[in-house]
């Protein structure tokens, strides 16, 4: 797992090349915000198939991957385009037609499974879930408190993604990862997965990381490789640099727009201007 060298920086194509068809992939961010969307588009261009997508609140990413036929299985808590766009249409169709198999979670039960993996234990107790049909649907077990409190709790089996992909605001040349604003679930994803790949807006000098190491979400030794893609979270936001590109999301949702959408992406046209939402 470890690497201490400075040769972490690679191309987006190489980064996507490290994710084989059939891999289970947990994607950082939430809905339209700070998702590793450039990597997701590159997986589509490279025609990956049979992926398992693991994310508490996917949206554009899983919809695009379903639209391109890359997905076999999903574990998710809530799936929507969000903003004012409503449901994720191609994801919805994929589930309704049985093209993908969904394991429906509460966001926190998915987090519990990732925690089990991160903590090195086979299962993780998760609060709540009482009265929901989800535990029976997923075959989750309920365990009595062996210490006699009379309480019982649902336990979630470990979820160990093959790869976590995070979209970072900044990385050091060695691959330390900084995220500004909420980390969403990126932290626990990076601890639960076997491997960590990163898409970053930019590389910042190592001195800035040494000056404030508290801001590093993922230390370099846990990171396998980084691709630097300015505006890589497009059409979503990457605060504080840019907001959601609502016209681009609307355009993506047109039935005939997939190729054009992929061609308009910043990793293809790196000169396009920043959109502030």
């Amino acid at each position: 797992m470890t690497s201490t060298g400075n040769e972490k920086i690679t191309s987006l194509a190489d980064l996507a090349g490290r994710i084989p068809s059939g891999a289970s992939v947990t994607l950082g961010g939430s809905f339209l915000h700070r998702g590793p969307f450039a990597l997701v588009r590159e997986l589509v261009r490279q025609r990956r198939t049979g992926l398992e997508i693991i994310k508490q609140s996917p949206g554009y990413d899983i919809d695009l991957l379903c639209r391109a036929g890359c997905v076999a299985r999903a574990r998710a808590g809530i799936v929507a385009m969000e903003g004012n766009f409503g449901l994720a249409p191609w994801y919805r169709r994929a589930v309704e037609t049985g093209a993908i198999v969904l394991e429906e979670h509460a966001c926190a039960s998915l987090t519990a499974g990732l925690r089990a993996a991160a903590f090195g234990v086979p299962f993780q107790p998760c609060g709540g879930l009482h009265g929901s049909d989800l535990p029976a649907l997923n075959g989750w077990k309920r365990i009595e408190d062996p210490y006699g409190s009379g309480r019982s709790v649902w336990v979630i089996p470990e979820i160990v993604p093959d790869v976590a992909v995070v979209h970072a605001n900044e990385v050091s040349p060695q691959g330390d990862v900084r995220v500004f604003g909420t980390p969403h679930w990126d932290r626990i994803m990076s601890r639960a997965a076997r491997r960590v790949l990163v898409v970053a807006e930019k590389v910042a000098p190592v001195e800035t990381f040494r000056a404030r190491p508290e801001l590093t979400l993922i230390p370099h030794f846990m990171v396998e490789a980084v691709a630097v893609v300015p505006q890589g979270a497009w059409p979503g936001s990457c605060s504080p640099y840019y907001g959601v590109d609502y016209p681009a999301v609307s355009h993506y949702l047109r039935d005939d727009a997939l190729d054009e959408h992929l061609a308009q992406a910043p990793e293809v046209e790196p000169t396009r201007e920043v959109v502030h939402g």
């Binding site: 589930v95 604003g181 932290r187």
Partner: protein, 244 residues
């Protein structure tokens, strides 16, 4: 009524009225109306409360109101980032006073379905899923939900799937405010432009209406706050809520 009250304003204002002094209140993803309700409460009411949101904000001072209720704008001005693991844990350990959670179907016990229409394994419609619901509804001290449509399709006798159960406190629709008492949702108040019979008629489960009253009209401060939050009516148009 002389004065009219748009169903959009009715929803946001009555969600805001669930907010109480000094409590910790949370709004999540896909939740533009609760987001507006929490921001309205901060402006219109003379008490302090802690507003947490899914963007990691802690009593934020957003420069504008975003279309996405999980937009990073909702963390602007925050003195801390209280992220997903933290607010879920806060809730499961019993420290979350009020959660706003979405629902597609609601039954008379205050249980919700956000998973599917039809059989889960062969759904007519695959819905977004419950997000925090299954964990937050039973563990928050109070949970409230809303529907932009009040009908027998949304307020049902029988859910197609129980996504989340337990802990429901109140429901707001374009025409009514329902509150859970003794395990059943009852009519608490109705929109002054409809009557009790219409609310009962449009509700799929048996609705006890004793002690219900017309909903008090919005105060000037509530109206002013909502106008300040949605000056050009963008949110009202997106929500597209109708009385009937």
């Amino acid at each position: 009524m002389a004065e009219s009250w748009s169903p959009f304003s009715y929803l946001v204002t009555n969600l805001a009225r669930f907010v109480r002094p000094d409590e910790v209140t949370f709004s999540g993803v896909n939740s533009s109306l609760p987001m507006l309700a929490c921001l309205l409460a901060k402006r219109a009411y003379d008490f302090d409360f802690v507003y947490l949101n899914v963007a990691g904000g802690v009593d934020p001072e957003p420069s504008h109101v975003p279309l996405s209720s999980s937009d990073p704008v909702l963390a602007e001005g925050s003195t801390a980032v209280f992220a997903n693991e933290d607010f879920y844990d806060l809730c499961t350990r019993g420290r979350m006073d009020l959660c706003f959670l979405g629902a597609a179907q609601i039954d008379g016990y205050g249980r919700t379905n956000v998973s599917c229409i039809g059989d889960w394994h062969r759904p007519k419609v695959r819905l977004p899923g419950g997000g925090g619901g299954a964990v937050m509804l039973p563990t928050a001290r109070r949970a409230c939900t809303w529907r932009t449509e009040h009908s027998r399709r949304t307020l049902v006798e029988r859910l197609d799937f129980v996504t989340a159960a337990g802990g429901m406190y109140g429901v707001v629709t374009p025409i009514a405010v329902l509150v859970l008492r003794e395990g059943r949702l009852r009519l608490d108040s109705w929109h002054p432009e409809v009557d009790v019979e219409e609310v009962v008629e449009r509700t799929g489960f048996d609705l006890v209406t004793t002690d219900a009253r017309p909903t008090p009209m919005p105060t000037d401060r509530e109206r002013a706050a909502l106008h300040a939050l949605d000056p050009d009516g963008r949110f009202e148009r997106d929500a597209a809520v109708r009385l009937r």
